[in-house]
C-alpha cells in the first residue's frame, strides 16, 4: 500500500512538472501584461505537434527527441512574440473581459491551424532515447522518463527564478510586474519587454508540450485540457506567484495520481472507482483552497476594483409605447412556420433556444458584471438531466423541469464559489468548472453514454411535429426571457447593477453582494438549463460537445456581438451568430478559425466594446477645436 502510494506520488510529481511549466509561463505573462492568456494551452499543444514533426524529419535518437523539444520551445516562443506584436499589443488598455475573448479567438484559430496542418488523428510521439526503461522501487516499476521529468520541472523553474532575480532584465521585469507605468517613467520600454516576456512564457509552454509526448500522443484536446488544469493550478496557487504555481501543480497532480492509485474500493458492497474520480478530487482541492484562501495559497488579495463601470450607460426602464417593434417581431415569429420550409423552422427553433442561452449569460455578464467562460456547463447539465430523465421513462413535462432544476442546482454549487472571486480569476474558475463538468459527462459511460452521448430523446407525440415543437419552444423561451427581463428591472437587477458598479458602496449601504450575485447566477443557470433541455428534445440526441468550452464561448460571442449592456443585445447576437454559423459551416470545415478571427477583429477594432468605442470616437470629435 505504502509502496503504491509512493509510486503514484512520483508519477504525480512528473505530471506536476509539465503542468508547472505551462502555469509558470501563464503567470509570468499575466504578471507583466495583466493579460490572462487563454491561448497558453494552445501553445502547449503546438509544442507537441511541432516536436512530432521535427522527429519525423530528423529521425530518432538524442537529436530527434531533445532537438525536437528545443526546436518546439523556440518555434512556439517566436510564434508567441508574433502573436504579441500583431494582436495582444492592441488590447493592453482594453477591459479584462475583452482581453480574455481576444486570446480565446487565438485558441480557436490555432485549433484549426493544427487541424489543417496535422489532420484530425492523434499522433504518437517519440520516446526519450535511453530513458524508455523503468526503475524498480519497492518492487514496482517507475518509468525512467518520469523521474527525469520530476527533476526537469523544478530545474527549469529554478532557471527562470535565476533569470528574474540575478539579471538586469529580470529585475526590470519584476519592477514592471509591480508598477509598469513607473517602470516606463524610468526609461524601460514596456512594449519590448512585453514581447520578450510573452515569448518566454510561450517558449515554456511549447517546451512542456514537447516533453509531454512520451506520456501522451499529440491530440486535439490537449489545448483545453491543459488550460483548464493550469487555471485550477493558478487559482489554487495564486495568480502571479512562482512558488504558488509549483506547489499547486504538485498538490493537484499528486492528488489525481493517488485517486488513480487507489483504484476500485468496495464499501458496504458498493464499488467506488476512485480512478474515475480524479476530476472530482481536483474540484474538491480547489474548493477547499477557495474557502480558506479565496485568492490562492500564495496569492495576495486583490485591491477592490473601483468604478470599472465608468463606460456603462444606466439601463433605462423601458417605455411601453416604444415596444411596438417587439410586437412586430412576435408577429413575425408566429407567422414564420406558415411561410418557411421545414429546414428553416428547425434552424429557427435552434436560434430561439440559443437566444435564451445567450440572454441568460447576458444577465450575469451585463447586469452582473461577471464574466463566465463556462456557461455551457448549465446548458449541458440541463440537457443531460432532461435526456437521462426521458430515457428513464419520464414524460416531457417532467423531463424539462428536471433539466431546469438540475442546472439550477449546479448553479447553486458553482455559484457559491464563483461569487468569491472577481475579474480574471472568476473567468478562470468558471472555465475550470465547465471543463470538469464536460469531463464527467465524457467519462461517466453508464449514465451519460460517454463520448457517444445519448440518442433517441424525442418529445411526445403532440410535439413531434417540427412546427409544433417550434411553437412550444417559442412559448417557453419567450416566458423565460420575459422573466430575465423582469428580474433586471426588479430589486434583484438594481442590486446586481449596484454591486457591479461599486462593490464597496453597495456593501456600505447594506447590500450582501455575494448573495445577490449568487441569486443571479442561479437564475441564469436555470434559464440556460431550460435552453439545454429544449435543445436535446429538438435534436433527439446529445453529446458531450453540448457542454464543452467552445460552446461556452459561442454564448460569449453572441453576447459580445449583440452588446453586453442591453437586454436585446444577446438575443440579437444569438440570431446573427447562429445564422452566420449555419452559413459558414456549410462553406468551410474551418468554422473555429473563422469565429476566432472574427472575435480577434471585433475586440481589436472595438477595444472598449462596441458601445464604448463609439462613445470614445464621439468624445474625441467633440474635443477637437
Amino acid at each position: 500500500m505504502i509502496a503504491s502510494f509512493l509510486i503514484q506520488t512520483l508519477n504525480g510529481l512528473a505530471s506536476a512538472s509539465l503542468l508547472f511549466l505551462v502555469a509558470l509561463g501563464l503567470t509570468l505573462i499575466f504578471g507583466v501584461t495583466r493579460v490572462v492568456n487563454f491561448a497558453h494551452g494552445s501553445f502547449f499543444m503546438l509544442g507537441a505537434y511541432l516536436a512530432v514533426s521535427f522527429y519525423g524529419y530528423v529521425g530518432g535518437g538524442v537529436l530527434g527527441f531533445w532537438g525536437g523539444a528545443v526546436f518546439a520551445g523556440l518555434a512556439v516562443g517566436v510564434l508567441g512574440a508574433l502573436i504579441e506584436l500583431t494582436i495582444l499589443r492592441r488590447i493592453y488598455r482594453a477591459p479584462e473581459l475583452l482581453q480574455l475573448i481576444t486570446t480565446f479567438g487565438v485558441v480557436l484559430l490555432l485549433k484549426d491551424v493544427v487541424l489543417f496542418t496535422w489532420g484530425p488523428e492523434d499522433i504518437l510521439g517519440p520516446r526519450a532515447p535511453g530513458l524508455t526503461g523503468a526503475v524498480w522501487i519497492f518492487g514496482k516499476p517507475i518509468p525512467q522518463y518520469d523521474l527525469l521529468l520530476l527533476v526537469l520541472g523544478p530545474l527549469v523553474g529554478l532557471l527562470v527564478w535565476l533569470l528574474l532575480t540575478r539579471t538586469d532584465w529580470g529585475t526590470r521585469v519584476r519592477a514592471a510586474t509591480e508598477d509598469r507605468d513607473m517602470a516606463a517613467a524610468l526609461g524601460i520600454n514596456q512594449a519590448l519587454m512585453f514581447t520578450g516576456v510573452f515569448a518566454l512564457g510561450a517558449l515554456l509552454a511549447g517546451l512542456a508540450g514537447a516533453l509531454a509526448l512520451p506520456r501522451e500522443p499529440a491530440n486535439h484536446n490537449m489545448d483545453l485540457t491543459i488550460i483548464a488544469d493550469v487555471f485550477v493550478v493558478t487559482v489554487v496557487g495564486g495568480l502571479g506567484s512562482l512558488p504558488g504555481a509549483y506547489v499547486a501543480a504538485v498538490i493537484i497532480s499528486v492528488v489525481k495520481a493517488w485517486c488513480i492509485g487507489i483504484g476500485d474500493v468496495r464499501v458496504f458492497g458498493t464499488v467506488f472507482s476512485f480512478s474515475k474520480l480524479t476530476l472530482v478530487a481536483e474540484f474538491i482541492v480547489m474548493a477547499i483552497v477557495l474557502i480558506i484562501r479565496p485568492w490562492g495559497l500564495f496569492g495576495t488579495p486583490p485591491a477592490p476594483q473601483r468604478v470599472t463601470a465608468a463606460s456603462i450607460l444606466p439601463m433605462p426602464v423601458p417605455d411601453l409605447k416604444r415596444l411596438w417593434p417587439l410586437g412586430l417581431v412576435i408577429l413575425a415569429l408566429l407567422a414564420l412556420p406558415l411561410i418557411a420550409d421545414r429546414f428553416t423552422v428547425v434552424l429557427a427553433t435552434d436560434i430561439i433556444i440559443f437566444a435564451l442561452f445567450a440572454a441568460s449569460l447576458g444577465l450575469i455578464m451585463g447586469a452582473g458584471g461577471m464574466a463566465s467562460f463556462g456557461h455551457a456547463a448549465y446548458f449541458g447539465a440541463g440537457a443531460y438531466a432532461a435526456a437521462v430523465a426521458a430515457k428513464a421513462g419520464a414524460p416531457f413535462l417532467v423531463a424539462v423541469p428536471a433539466g431546469v432544476t438540475f442546472a439550477g442546482a449546479l448553479a447553486v454549487l458553482f455559484g457559491w464559489f464563483c461569487v468569491r472571486l472577481t475579474g480574471v480569476s472568476l473567468a478562470m474558475l468558471t472555465l475550470a468548472f465547465a471543463q470538469i463538468t464536460w469531463a464527467i459527462a465524457f467519462q461517466w459511460d453508464s449514465v451519460t453514454g460517454g463520448s457517444n452521448g445519448l440518442v433517441g430523446v424525442w418529445p411526445p407525440e403532440l410535439l413531434s411535429d417540427k412546427t409544433a415543437y417550434y411553437f412550444a419552444t417559442l412559448l417557453l423561451v419567450g416566458g423565460a426571457i420575459l422573466l430575465i427581463w423582469r428580474s433586471v428591472h426588479a430589486p434583484l437587477g438594481y442590486l446586481l447593477r449596484a454591486s457591479r458598479d461599486s462593490r464597496i458602496r453597495a456593501e456600505a449601504v447594506g447590500v450582501d453582494v455575494r448573495i445577490i450575485q449568487w441569486r443571479a447566477i442561479i437564475v441564469a443557470g436555470a434559464a440556460a438549463g431550460l435552453a439545454g433541455a429544449l435543445y436535446v428534445f429538438s435534436k433527439g440526441s446529445l453529446s458531450p460537445d453540448s457542454l464543452s468550452i467552445p460552446r461556452s464561448v459561442d454564448a460569449l460571442a453572441m453576447v459580445l456581438i449583440g452588446g453586453v449592456q442591453t437586454l436585446v443585445g444577446p438575443v440579437v447576437g444569438a440570431v446573427v451568430f447562429m445564422t452566420l454559423q449555419d452559413w459558414v459551416v456549410r462553406a468551410t470545415p474551418y468554422w473555429h478559425a473563422v469565429l476566432g478571427i472574427t472575435l480577434i477583429l471585433i475586440t481589436i477594432i472595438f477595444p472598449q466594446g462596441i458601445v464604448g468605442t463609439l462613445r470614445q470616437w464621439r468624445q474625441r470629435r467633440e474635443a477637437e477645436p
Partner: protein, 234 residues
Amino acid sequence: MTLLEIRDLDAWYGRAQILFGVSLEVEAGEAAVLIGRNGAGKSTLMKSIMGLEAERRGTIRFDGADLIAEPTHRIARRGMAYVPEDRRIFTDLTVAENLAVGRLPPNSGEAWTPEAAFELFPPLAAMRERKGGQMSGGEQQMLTIARALMGNPRFLLLDEPSEGLAPVIVEVIAGAIAKLKARGVGLLLSEQNLHFARAVADRAFVLDRGHIRFAGTLAELDADAALKEQYLSI
C-alpha cells in the same frame, strides 16, 4: 538657457479637463516651484510632462525636442526624470535593485553611480539589501530621488517632495536639490509648503484649477498678499 518650455498645455482624464492652456519655462540649473491647492492640477501637469495617464495637447519642448507625442520611456531616456508624490518604490525589490531599474546610459557627462547617490542620501548606504516595502516614508522618498538620478537626468520633476516627512529628512532633500542645481540639472517641484519652496526654488508658478495665475520670483509672490489670499490660503 531654457531647458523646459511648455506652451498652451491642455490635459484630460477621460472627459474631465484638468489643465487649461498652461505655459511655463524652466532653465538649466534652476528650480521652479508649482504652488497651488489640492486638486489644482500640479500632479497632472507632472504626469502630462512624462506622458503618463492623462491625455494631453499643446507643446512640451525639452532641450529642443517636442515631448507631446513621445511614449513615456522615450521621454525618460531624453533625460526627464520623475519622482511621484506617492513615491512608487518597487516594494518587492531591494534598494540596490530599485536603483538598478533606474539605470540609463548618460546623455552627456559623468554618470551617477549608486555610491554617488549614497553620498547624497547617507541613510540609504546601510540598507542596500533591504526591500523597498520595508522602508519608512522618508527613506522611500530618498530612494525615489536616488532611483531617478540613476537615469542621469538633465531635468527632475519632484511631486510634493517634502510632504509628510520629518524635518531632518526635508533638510537632506533640500541639500540634494541644491547640489543638483549646482550640476546644471533643471527642476520643477510642486509644493504646498511655502517655507520649503523659499528654501530651494528660484522661481514660482501658481496653479489654480488648471490655470497658471502667477509667474515670477518667490519674493514677488510674497509681496502680493492679495494673490496669496486668493489662491493659496485655505
